[in-house]
């Protein structure tokens, strides 16, 4: 693991690592990766690919409409609220 790789992973994670943090983070991260590398010594060939999915049956609830959030309650907790809408920054770039 080098600085370039760590910065690439940080980019995928939408995190910025400052220049003064990078050395410490790289050291910690390299040691953690080395530690979890131990798992490579475990022989997992007895487990089939299909065994890792679906241990429990997931039962969906019935699709029935019910009262959810009331607007006035939402207005009280939203950071910014105008004319019945929660105001957020522009998320579509033009």
């Amino acid at each position: 693991m080098d600085e370039k790789q760590l910065r690439a992973i940080a980019g995928l994670s939408k995190l910025n690592i400052n220049d003064n943090e990078i050395e410490g983070m790289l050291g910690d991260f390299s040691r953690i990766v080395k530690y979890v590398d131990e798992i490579k010594n475990l022989d997992t060939s007895s487990v089939g690919d299909d065994e890792i999915y679906g241990q429990t049956m997931q039962v969906l609830r019935k699709d029935i409409a019910e009262n959810a959030l009331r607007r006035e309650d939402l207005a009280k907790i939203a950071p910014s609220y105008e004319n019945g809408y929660v105001v957020v920054p522009q998320v579509i770039e033009t």
């Binding site: 992973i9 939408k14 241990q55 309650d73």
Partner: protein, 490 residues
Amino acid sequence: MKELFKLSYSKIKEGLGKGDFSSVDLVNSYYDRIDETQSKIKAFLETNREKATNQAKVSDERRKSGKTVSEFDGIPIAIKDNICVSGEITSCSSKILENFRSPYDATVISRLKDKGFIFLPRTNMDEFAMGSSTENSAFQTTTNPFDTTRIPGGSSGGSAAAVSAGMVPIALGSDTGGSIRQPASLCGIWGLKPTYGRISRYGLVAYASSLDQIGPFSNDIQGVVDLFSVLNGRDERDQTTVIGKQFSSANVKQKSWKGVKVGVMSTKNASDWSPSVLKKYEDMKKNLEKEGAILKELDFSVFSYSIPIYYLIATAECSSNLSRFDGIRYGLRVEGSSGKLEDLYVESRSKGFGDEVKRRILLGTFSLSSGYYDAYYGKAQKARVMIRKQYDSFFKEVDVILQPTSPTTAFKIGEKTKDPIQMYLADVLTTSVNLAGVPAISCPAGVDENGLPIGMQLTTSHFEEESLLSFASSLAQLPDTTITLPSQIQ
């Protein structure tokens, strides 16, 4: 009336029922205790006396007019700061959610409200439940009530310390890799991680969804039994809750150890355990044998991989779960200097998350990334199946497994913060339980030479909480298991 905070949960329930004292008396006693100890213990992030007192008044009115909603009506409970209570802040001890108010109640909160419990908000925790010492909270470090220079364990350290210090008799925590059992052990109280799917996670802020479970803390076993009986059961809002074996608290009974097959581990490779924990474990084994239990040494070799497996799976899930904290939908928003959307995401997350959360998001993103997925995440998933199968085979041979909860007693504040791996190893005896989804409880088991609590972990097969809690209450009858809590000393 002044010292009600010293009572066990059972005595509180009994006294309220008999009318020896009111819910307001109780709330006053706990808040006086909080006023006295909070500055040292720092278990709570917020203490709203007025709100709790008002709830207690309403409960007392119900009791007076014969309209008590349950036998628990008026009992105070503290809630970990990652469980949503409508209208209240749920910060997960993170700057990114510092001012987030939940618009709804978690299912566990609705169930407690229906029974008339009184809520004491919010207990401190490691940020997003990532940690084993509560030192990763963005706001404060909770201390251990037995020795305030030491950690209370984590991540539910605030809840555990609050119960141990007599600030509240019972509390809720969440356990992803040991976050209820380890702090319960280090604070000298009871803490249960139920079978995965027993208790609804709706309204629990997700860290690692396939491992997280909400569970109770209490200063006696009855509190654990009662809370589990109130909280367990299918919830349509959490599709992973299951209609398993029914639980009835009436079936939880102290039993004789005669003929019980107890699985134990060899301590040959336990060089990193405290000598006091090791000795206690060997003593417990001998005492169980004297009581007629049949001990069987189990092969735990595959469990030596449980920490790497846990960190690969938990961090992969956390990198996905925490992607929702983007500066748009929740909490802290930091506008980037460029004004671009990408910068807003990056700046908000970089300022909002602490170091340990960042490390785990990075590890999770790494193990899921192209070229590494099969070697890390895929491999860990298969290894997890091996752990589960190992437990299945254990429970063909034994009724219950006994291990220490933590390899050491409470360590000093700051002792392990510089080395993340040393901190991860604090959970070496607890994570496999989450990987397999089985239930486990940490039980008080006496103290070490410095008077610090030691906890023993009992584990049973899936959905066997009735027998797990019965074994736990039988364990409490063995010699040298009693721990006098700091609240009870004075």
